[in-house]
């Protein structure tokens, strides 16, 4: 098991399968608020769903309405279990708080691979990968 020490953005604990991208995500316009599917054209995750995953990306981008899309996903039971960033932007941070999604940043995200089981303890800012 490998541990990474990061910074708490929003509290909580979660464990699940990682969905990793090296490209920032815009939730407004980029993710379907009802299904969790990434719909941004030519995004590496296009067609994949963030629902029930530990979502790993460098940061967020785009309109601040994106925070409400995370909230919509949570209400539809399609939100990510947790979010891990290199550097969380305000759109994601606010989205995580209002939707109560455990979120950690300051993590070397390139060391996490899609499909790995990941444990997030946002209270302590710790991300653990089960090899």
């Amino acid at each position: 098991m490998t541990d990474f020490q990061g910074r708490k953005i929003y509290k909580g604990k979660a464990e699940g399968v990682a969905l990793v991208t090296a490209v920032d995500i815009s939730f407004y316009g980029g993710v379907d608020p009802e299904t969790g599917e990434v719909v941004e054209k030519d995004h590496p995750l296009e067609g994949k769903s963030v629902a029930g995953k530990v979502l790993v990306m460098p940061s967020g981008k785009g309109s601040t309405v994106g925070s409400y899309v995370l909230y919509a996903l949570k209400k539809a039971d399609k939100a990510p279990l947790a979010i891990i960033n290199r550097e969380t932007d305000p759109v994601i941070a606010v989205g995580s708080i209002i939707s109560e999604i455990p979120t950690v940043d300051n993590i070397e995200i390139e060391k996490i691979k899609s499909g790995q089981r990941v444990e997030v303890d946002a209270d302590l800012g710790i991300v653990s990968i089960h090899e």
């Binding site: 407004y28 601040t64 309405v65 409400y68 919509a72 969380t88 305000p90 708080i97 209002i98």
Partner: protein
């Protein structure tokens, strides 16, 4: 953690001031921690974006309704445009369904004690901070205007963070609240001729396309009206993400002058104009008032339309704030505009109303409106002076 909280702020965080306030202070303190703020500071004015149901959707509305259970505005708070004129929506072709949902959004804000004026120019209708005042505003054009033209201090807030400031009366002290982050970074000498409001919009695009969020120091603009600066702010914020600029002899902030200066010429404005000009555009929609038209704008347009008739197949929206519309009704401007077959639309604008599929081509004097018409509504566009826009409407 470097963020120090007062006793009252700690109580908010512990939930002693209710659930909505607790959520709100969590947002404020988290942003403060991300950006390394040392403390929270009081704000005296808030402007909230994310009001159109078209952008918010059911989830956004649900969040607002939840916050409205026990959340109450602590400082003067106004709203960005909604997706429709809150009274005359029916004649503008808005559906019953949309109107009902939009009303629910505005009701939720009203329950929180927010002044539901729905305009992107709060400073024209009574939400006017003074120089140096700390505020929390969303709406990129108003942020840019308040920071630059007024000299108040705000970061570019989003809808939820602005609401959070309203419910707590606080923001975190980072970014544009600090003097050291308000210094000019790149100079622009304007050698282009600036005559009409649309020229200022084009100038905003020409500089915005180049700055990549740096703070410009602009020289060579001899004079500018408030209406022209409004248009400039909207454009430079839309195309460059600029939240603060300095304009020599016109804006009040103090700054060191950057060493590097680029020039902006007539060619640059022409290039900006040609980029906002789809040659094949078939104009069936004319909209003026992005940002919302001032009473001076409305008076001028009413004169142009007086006794004339908008030609068949064309729709004209002059968008403005409700208080401005009320004055226009009293002054007879409204009648002149509406008798000509144009609409004086309050509370809404062509960027946030549900208009996709209704029109083919938009003519406007606003570079910002062009951006959203193209990106969101898939309209062809042409940018022209207000006079040319009205002429097109009548032809």
């Amino acid at each position: 953690m470097g963020l120090k909280l007062t006793d009252e702020e700690k109580e908010m965080l512990e939930g002693k001031h209710g659930k909505a306030t607790q959520k709100a202070i969590e947002i404020i303190t988290t942003l403060g921690e991300i950006y390394g703020a040392g403390r929270l500071i009081p704000v005296t004015s808030v402007q909230i974006a994310g009001v159109s149901y078209h952008n918010l959707g059911e989830a956004g509305l649900e969040y607002l309704s939840e916050m409205a259970v026990d959340g109450r505005a602590r400082v003067l708070t106004t709203l960005n445009p909604a997706g429709m004129d809150m009274l005359e929506w029916k004649k503008h072709g808005i559906s019953e369904d949309f109107a009902e949902n939009q009303q629910r959004v505005v009701d939720a804000f009203e329950k929180m004690g927010v002044v539901t004026t729905c305009t992107c120019t709060p400073y024209l209708i009574g939400n006017l901070p003074h120089y140096g005042e700390h505020i929390a505003w969303a709406e990129s054009s108003a942020v840019c205007f308040s920071n630059s033209v007024i000299g108040a201090r705000t970061n570019r807030e989003g809808g939820p963070s602005a609401l959070a400031s309203s419910l707590t009366g606080r923001t975190a002290e980072y970014g544009f609240h600090l003097e050291k982050n308000r210094q000019a970074q790149v100079g622009y000498e304007i050698r282009a001729k600036l005559q009409n409001t649309d020229d200022f919009g084009l100038l905003g695009k020409a500089i915005g396309d180049r700055t990549s969020k740096q703070i410009p120091y602009i020289t060579g603009v001899a004079h500018a009206t408030t209406d022209q600066l409004r248009s400039f702010c909207a454009s430079i914020a839309t195309y460059g993400g600029v939240a603060l600029f300095h304009m020599e002899g016109i804006t009040p902030n103090r700054t060191a002058v950057p060493d590097i200066t680029e020039s902006v010429t007539d060619d640059d404005l022409d290039k900006a104009r040609s980029e906002l000009d789809d040659e094949a555009a078939e104009i069936d929609f004319i909209s003026v008032g992005c940002p919302h038209a001032s009473i001076g704008d409305v008076a001028r347009i009413a004169e142009m339309l007086d006794g004339k008739q908008v030609s068949e197949g064309k729709t004209v929206w002059i968008t403005t704030a409700k208080p401005t519309k009320d004055v226009a009704i009293k002054m007879g401007y409204y009648d002149k505009i509406e008798k000509a077959g144009a609409y004086l639309v309050s509370d809404a604008c062509c960027a946030v109303a549900p208009l996709e599929g209704r029109f083919k081509g938009l003519m406007t004097d606003s570079a910002k409106a062009c951006f959203y018409a193209r990106g969101k509504n898939k309209f062809d566009i042409k940018i022209r002076t207000v006079e040319e826009c009205i002429k097109e409407a009548l032809s």
